[in-house]
Symmetry: C2
Subunit: 234 residues, 2 copies
DNA sequence: TTAATTTGGTGTCTAAATAACACTTAATTT
DNA sequence: AAATTAAGTGTTATTTAGACACCAAATTAA
């Protein structure tokens, strides 16, 4: 194999910003780093890219290691490559975000990484530049969710309108009028109202909805303008 | 220096998608690759990341090598890392796009790279996955320009309303009503009408406008909704 | 010098989307 | 039976978008 002479080669990591939603709040899954440096500190789940895998494959592998989940919605965000970002050796890191159904995760908890969910507005100090990655991921999530129905990836098969609204409110750190909100969501025709109710959160109970998967897939890219005036988007 | 043992290290390239606008059409700056493999084929301008430079620094260096320009608007798009993307040796490439004022470039032409401008809708076959990068860059440009006044980065200090409209039309591959277009652009208050006209493109001549730089910087992130219904955005 | 040609520039009206706003209903608890 | 709690629903005003056509300025041709 010919090579390009005289060029430096670098370690490549993939780090995953894993989002979940517990029915009330947007959460972030963090682990305690298992090796030096910064062993025992809070960190994103990550790992090194292997010789024969693509970046997407690495991201999926790393997510699977922690959560056991496959087929999860993931998206590459950015690559950070400051020469000083890892004190041990220069390492570039490709950040991915993942949107998982937190309930599916809970059946797969692996103690190995001492993982914990943190509220997105109150997570601990992270190693290296991982906090920057989290903030980039939040920004990207807002961007994307204002135009595409991406947040349904965080929900279980059946969910209620109040839950959906809590989710949007937490993502945008804003409050919405529930009449306007449900009208807008329903106007997308992506939801199918169920006959049964979730009675765990209130006396009256809230009707369940299911996502119409076909319409969801067909319309994913069609610019739904779910958030009308997102001043939030920076 | 401690090291992470047993991990593979990779070559990292930065490739630049360089956009320009000649007053009529959106253009792409390509070079003829100067070394094997694929020597002499059309390619994006790129280079390897050096030991002590960040990715942004590498991107700026590479752009400067070709154009002589500094302080140009650049944005990281994505990192491609398929194991087979470079046949010689596994190389990851971080793609950046750059928006330059084509007129400033023209004073800096360096024959070394045999660079040429191509219309964005008619550029030659490119090496490796460079065509994918170009298409990602176009998509990102549309996304960004529908929400932020980013396209002014492509224009000279003085420009006319028809030129600006040609630019938007070429980016979105669409046509707009000129009455609605100028009303919308002017409503942003980003432009200052000049007293003189550009008479090169018509008998009547079109008034020049200048960008109000202060307002531009202040409002860059404030979601201007410049393109109301961008079905185009995928 | 007059007429024709070309491109620039402007205003109104209709339709659609957004935003503000308050009461009733269902079910449980007291 | 009354009180409590959260869910669910409709109307109106305002704003924004979209469709649409004529006049003006300057050069070129007759």
């Amino acid at each position: 194999m010919t090579r390009y002479p005289g060029q430096k080669r670098f370690l490549i990591a993939v780090d995953c910003i894993i989002f979940g939603f517990d029915g009330e709040h947007l959460k972030l899954l963090l682990i305690k780093r298992g090796f030096e440096p910064e062993k025992g500190k809070w960190s994103l789940m990550g790992g090194f890219v292997q010789s024969e895998e693509s970046l997407d494959e690495a991201a999926n592998r790393i997510l699977r290691q922690l959560t056991g989940l496959e087929g999860v919605y993931m998206e590459q965000i950015e690559t950070l490559g400051d020469p000083e970002r890892d004190p041990v050796e220069r390492t570039l890191s490709v950040a991915y975000f993942a949107l998982i159904d937190i309930h599916q995760y809970e059946t797969h908890i692996s103690g190995e990484y001492q993982a914990e969910w943190f509220p997105i507005n109150k997570y601990p100090k992270l190693i290296f530049d991982h906090s920057n990655m989290v903030e980039s991921a939040r920004k990207r999530l807002r961007y994307k969710a204002s135009l595409h129905p991406i947040l349904f990836e965080l929900l279980p098969e059946k969910f209620t309108m109040p839950q959906l609204q809590y989710l949007y409110e937490d993502v945008y750190n804003a409050t919405f009028d529930k009449r306007n909100f449900s009208r807008k969501i329903l106007s997308t025709n992506l939801l199918m109202k169920q006959k049964d109710k979730d009675k765990s959160a209130s006396k009256k109970g809230a009707f369940y909805y299911k996502l119409n998967k076909r319409r969801y897939n067909d319309n994913f890219d069609s610019f739904l303008k779910l958030i009308p005036n997102p001043d939030h988007l920076i």
